[in-house]
Amino acid sequence: MTKWLILAGAIVLEVTATLALRAAIENPWWSALTVIGYAGAFVALSLLLRLGAPIGVVYGIWAAAGVALTAVIASVVFGEPFTLTIGIGIALVIAGVILVETGHGTPAVKPSESLANPAESTERAEAANVVEEIR
């Protein structure tokens, strides 16, 4: 439950930051909100990692929800065009992001491979951990 709340917070912060980026075109003071928003989203995501949330899923939901909400809210707030074609394109992009981010999965290492070179597979697992930490 806590994890979902933190994830929701990270999404709200990201969307706010992105909309502020747009608002800053007319009034540069909004840039402050952009910096605070992205920094906050980054902290929230790091916190989720420490709590042991699956990062691919978390990042996928975060990015996808961010893109969708930004498009919808921007059309309301800034009167941006949001046609059916654009909506379909955004839906495709969101599905793609979720597939990429959840596609790392468990390494499908063949038993023969892992036996042949156990050092390499350990190295890869470590590398994967580092990437996940960063994200």
Partner: protein, 108 residues
């Protein structure tokens, strides 16, 4: 022109993320400067694209998704990370989605 700026924003964001990966969580100090420079450039170019009149909903969607797709490819090329079929399918979907968004926004 606007699309060119957005492409620059995407490429520098991918460079920043891959530099972050190379820095191993900012533990390798010499990668910190590239991470900072690339991220600052990426956000500056994204802002510039918006200033040129590109809708933020469209710009952000394309920027974020293309970044995810190209980072996965870059991680495969530079760090020999896994690129599964599921990820490849996702990258194809992102490419089609970006194309459809472009079509939709040009109609306007």
């Amino acid at each position: 022109m606007t699309w060119l700026i957005l492409t620059g924003a995407i490429l520098t964001e991918v460079a920043a993320t891959l530099s972050l990966r190379a820095s191993e969580g900012l533990r390798k100090k010499r990668w910190i400067a590239p991470v900072a420079v690339f991220y600052v450039t990426a956000f500056s170019l994204l802002t510039l694209a918006l200033a040129h009149g590109m809708p933020v909903g469209i710009a952000y969607g394309i920027w974020a998704a293309s970044g995810v797709a190209l980072t996965a490819v870059g991680a495969r090329v530079f760090f020999q990370e896994r690129l599964t079929w599921r990820m490849t399918a996702g990258i194809v979907l992102i490419a089609i989605g970006v194309f459809v968004i472009e079509l939709g926004s040009q109609a306007h």
